[in-house]
């Protein structure tokens, strides 16, 4: 019994919260329906005819009701965002996973994360340039947030890449990796952080 009371209470509450929203939706569609069948469509026909515009797009148009907007889960924008965040996260992982001994370096989390960080960074730069090309205008100057974001993102990726290459070179020429490459990695992480923060 107790369970039932609780359940119905919860249901009542749910209804309570949903009812105004539902009422509003009904109101909305009512209003829009009126809008659709009213003068507007016919005037648009007249305008279209008068301008000789091809009427084809009117029939091919998907009829999406105004209330149906849902931000798509995967877009170029958020793909770019996730790649950048992942690159930063991998850089952080590399920073906290410095191996203590130098056996089997290629199989350490440190090396794998560092490599992933520059590769993800490169992909982030690529998707950013592709989907936000229209946000860059050189004449806006280097202090423009979007321009600075692009520059720092590129430098961050470059920093990650040079850090990895520096370590690999060390290993190949001296037989052991020194901590010299860390500064490039830290620079990369800093640049990447600021880049993301600027347009967050």
């Amino acid at each position: 019994m107790k369970g039932f009371v609780r359940l119905s209470l919860a249901a009542a509450l749910g209804l309570c919260l949903a009812a105004p929203a539902m009422a509003q939706e009904n109101g909305m569609s009512l209003g829009l329906h009126e809008w659709d069948s009213g003068i507007d469509l016919s005037t648009s026909d007249i305008i279209l005819a008068a301008n000789g515009a091809p009427a084809t797009y009117r029939t091919a148009v998907p009829n999406i009701p105004d209330s149906a907007f849902e931000k798509p889960a995967v877009t170029e924008n958020n793909l770019h965002m996730y790649l950048g965040l992942a690159s930063l996260a991998m850089g952080g992982l590399a920073a906290i996973s410095v191996p203590e001994d130098q056996t089997d370096l290629l199989n350490t989390v440190h090396y794998k994360a560092a490599k992933a960080s520059w590769q993800l960074g490169a992909m982030a730069v690529g998707t950013g340039l592709y989907s936000h090309w229209d946000d860059f205008y050189l004449e806006d100057g280097i202090l423009d947030r979007d321009n600075l974001h692009a520059l720092l993102g590129l430098l961050g990726t470059l920093g990650y890449y040079l850090a990895v290459q520096g370590a690999v070179n060390d290993y190949n020429t001296k037989g052991a990796v020194t901590t010299d490459h860390a500064s490039k990695g830290i620079f990369g992480g800093g640049a990447m952080t600021i880049a993301i923060a600027l347009t967050w």
Partner: protein
């Protein structure tokens, strides 16, 4: 126990949406600052979308909110009670584009020549530049859009101050990210 359960249910319904908004906008200064003031929405939003203060610089709002400017507000009479007019003007000036840290506001302000005082948001260079691809078929001849002044017909997250292109859904055409 009962109380705790009830509380949990209430929180679940009302809290979820709030929390989502809170976290997705935490430290987010990418768009323009959202405006939620009731007086502002009631006074200006009755006729048109209640444009955020961060869409024009201070000097523009000061000019627009002069009493005789409001009597001829782009051809309409938009008189306000004197106290409301002052309150709204101060609100707009406080969050105007030229003192904002929000990215779009800064870009709008930087695009306006120093000696210009635009009153139409659609005539600021940044907004113009960003709507270059919005040809007549999407706007002017689209009965549900008609003009760029109706920002909110396409920018579906405008209430949160977000103008990203993946939040654009053009009536009669669909998601901008799919048309492009």
């Amino acid at each position: 126990m009962k109380k705790v359960l009830l509380f949990a249910v209430v929180m679940m319904f009302s809290g979820q949406a709030l929390a989502e908004d809170f976290f997705s906008n935490l430290f987010r200064f990418k768009g323009v600052k959202p405006m939620t003031d009731k007086l502002y929405k009631d006074s200006c939003g009755e006729c048109h979308f209640a444009y955020q203060a961060g869409l024009l610089p201070k000097r523009s709002w000061e000019k627009m909110m002069l009493a005789d400017q409001l009597s001829d507000h782009f051809g309409e009479v938009a008189d306000l009670e004197e106290e409301d007019r002052i309150a709204i003007r101060d609100m707009l000036v406080a969050d105007a584009a030229d003192t904002s840290i929000y990215k779009r506001s800064m870009k709008i302000d930087r695009s306006i020549p120093e000696n210009a005082t635009p009153l139409r948001i659609t005539e600021t260079p940044y907004i113009k530049k960003k709507h270059k691809e919005m040809t007549d078929k999407y706007v002017k001849f689209n009965p549900k859009v008609k003009s760029l002044i109706n920002c909110n017909t396409c920018h579906r997250e405008i209430e949160k101050g977000i103008f990203d292109d993946d939040t654009v859904l053009i009536p009669n055409f669909g998601y901008w990210s799919e048309i492009e």
